[in-house]
Symmetry: C2
DNA sequence: CAGTTCCATAAGCGATCGCTTATTGATCAC
DNA sequence: GTGATCAATAAGCGATCGCTTATGGAACTG
């Protein structure tokens, strides 16, 4: 259960990979669709997606010759756990976060 | 106010820098004290601390020939804000976090 | 079937990273 | 003053990174 944030931080350190991740948050996309909307080549996209997948941030669904990537819901939890250890050092955002959490409370 | 997580993610991508940060969470330390407890040279420590400082994660207090580094309380907020945008994708940790937050509530 | 599209992998290139040793400036101890 | 200690910077080296083009396998299209 030891949070393993190393691959996670390395995966998120690249702005293109973060943008890919943010794009996939909106829903699954094929590699070609992603490659069409990013200013890098298709192999670059595939390599970034492989890095994100190895970090546990995304998962793949193969359908015919297409590969659809989506966000893995559990992918960010090691990062959340890591940040959580230093919660006392970001008190400025606590109120906002508490408000948000209270809003989703039954 | 635009969350600027780029330097932050890059700074945290290195395990030695994360270990330095975690060490500084316990309290301020001089460069020589940090260099004594890490298996790298003093210049390497200074370089890592410079990266952490440029990312806003730590601050320096100079006293004579010593330089004492400490965690900057606001340093992690861009990371928290970034993660916060994808809150719906880590529901597994919400309960735990809510419990923690409720515990610090008056 | 041939031709095309989708995706992953390989190979290589320049840039960056993390580290080292060497050095310098500044401060303290004597 | 001299010598020692602290910390930052410079220079350089191997490893890794992000990207490219080239290629190959698999699957749809006609």
């Amino acid at each position: 259960m030891s949070t393993e944030p190393d691959a996670l931080f390395r995966a998120l350190a690249d702005p293109t990979r973060r943008a890919l991740f943010e794009r996939l948050v909106a829903g699954e996309h094929s590699v070609s669709a992603l490659a069409a909307s990013f200013p890098v080549s298709q192999p670059a996209i595939s390599q970034h997606l492989a890095t994100l997948r190895e970090a546990g941030l995304v998962s793949v669904r193969k359908d015919g010759r297409n590969a659809f990537y989506r966000v893995d819901p559990k992918g960010l939890t090691p990062l959340v756990n890591w940040v959580d250890r230093y919660r006392s050092f970001w008190p400025a955002k606590l109120d906002k976060l508490k408000t948000v959490l209270r809003g989703m409370e039954p």
